[in-house]
Structures are given as C-alpha cells and as structure tokens.
Symmetry: C2
C-alpha cells in the first residue's frame, strides 16, 4: 500500500477532534484542503483504511456510517435512540465479554468500537411521565 496523500489528510482530520465523521463530512472537509478531490477517491480511501484497521467504522444511528481514528484509549458508546445522546463507556466490561467469546468460539475479535442502542435516563423519565 502506497502512502496516499488523501489518506494522510483523512487521518489528520479524524485525529484532531475525537471525531465520528460520516463519509460526506469527511469529503466536505477534505475538499477544503484538496479542492479537486473526487468523491470516489474518498470512499475508496475510507474502505482501504478501515480494512487495514487504521480507522473504525460504526453505525451510530446517523443514517450513514461514521469513521473514527483508531489509536488512543479503546472505547465504546451507548447511543440513545430517542434523543441521539452519545455516552462513552470504558473498555473493561466489553473487553471481558470479548475475551470470553474468543475462548468459547475460537474466534479472534476485531471489532474495536462497539455501539449499543437504547434509551438514556432522561428519555426513560419523559416517556414514564408523559403520554406514549
């Protein structure tokens, strides 16, 4: 794999903020620095980087996959399906499950950014009191 200039900029974009960006958002940002870049180049670069484990790809309920640089502390998220709130959770309990499954099923886990959907405390209260 050649070190593509587009890849370098994408990594820079994703590293700066601890961002979860969609392909579209990345493309828009990228155009600011590389005005002539083609959309398909971006889609292909993201696919390549995800496959190489440089970035994670996750459905966070935003209608399109979001990408994040892999590197710092490993983490996961709880996403509220009602209000969209995103909570970040520690790796430990998730990691324990993963180690167990690896042993039990002789499977080597690659997933490194788990997204779980549900309802946050606030939205639970709302529907408890109000109608619905």
């Amino acid at each position: 794999m050649k070190t593509s200039s587009v890849e370098l900029i994408i990594l820079d974009l994703l590293s700066h903020e601890q961002a979860h960006l969609t392909a579209q958002e990345i493309y828009q940002q990228l155009k600011l620095r590389l005005p002539a870049v083609n959309p398909s180049t971006v889609y292909r670069a993201l696919e390549r980087m995800a496959h190489a484990g440089k970035i994670s790809v996750s459905d966070m309920g935003r209608g399109a996959m979001v990408y994040e640089a892999v590197g710092g502390e490993r983490h996961h998220h709880l996403v509220c399906q009602d209000c969209g709130a995103v909570m970040t959770i520690e790796d430990r309990p998730v990691n324990e499950l993963f180690r167990y499954l690896e042993g039990r099923y002789h499977f080597e886990m690659i997933t490194n950014h788990l997204i779980l959907f549900g309802r946050c405390q606030n939205c639970q209260k709302v529907s408890e009191s109000g109608r619905q």
Copy 2:
C-alpha cells in the same frame, strides 16, 4: 400506524426463513408478490418497522444493512471478516454485559441483535501458515 399490506408481506418474508435480508433483497422478493410496489415504499416500511421494534437492523459486512424479524430466541452473531462466515451465539453472555451496563449507566438497552467482527478459527490458521 395503519396495518400496511407491505409491512405484512415483509414480516412474512423475514419470518419464513431465519433470514438476514438486505433492503434490495426484500424489494426483489416483494415485487414477486406485489409487482407494482415502489422502492421508496419498501425503504420507508423498513424504517418504520425497525423503529417500532418489529425487525432488527444490522451491519453484517455485506455492504448494506440486513433486516431480520424479531421474535424467536434472541441471538447474536460472530462474522469473519476474511471469509464472511457467520456464527450464531447464545444470548446469555451478551445479556450479562447488557444488564451490567444498564445498571452502571442507567441506560435501557434496545440493541437486540449484536454483530461482532473478527476472524474465524479457519482463517486464523490460514494466515498463520501461509504468507501475510
């Protein structure tokens, strides 16, 4: 919510086989029974049904989300990123993690069909011996 005829057929499609079907696959099947159905009707029905908890939506690495009827035994999957093999795993250990997280974060879990990516035993062996 009106009982839409499209919804009924989709549920029937998804129930019959313990299928994980993409929107396109569902649309193609549906056309056999309802030749004049419009694609957007299918996409909208799927969105509605997912939101109502009637079906699960998951990325199983097939390039598009797959839908499955919710109802029988709750289960989850391990998907091999190399060969695409799909293993079905029991709910118990996953459920334990979920209950823990619910208590720890006052979060009510909705995710009911978890997909974890990794490498199956066979593909691990292959890359161990062969090159790469």
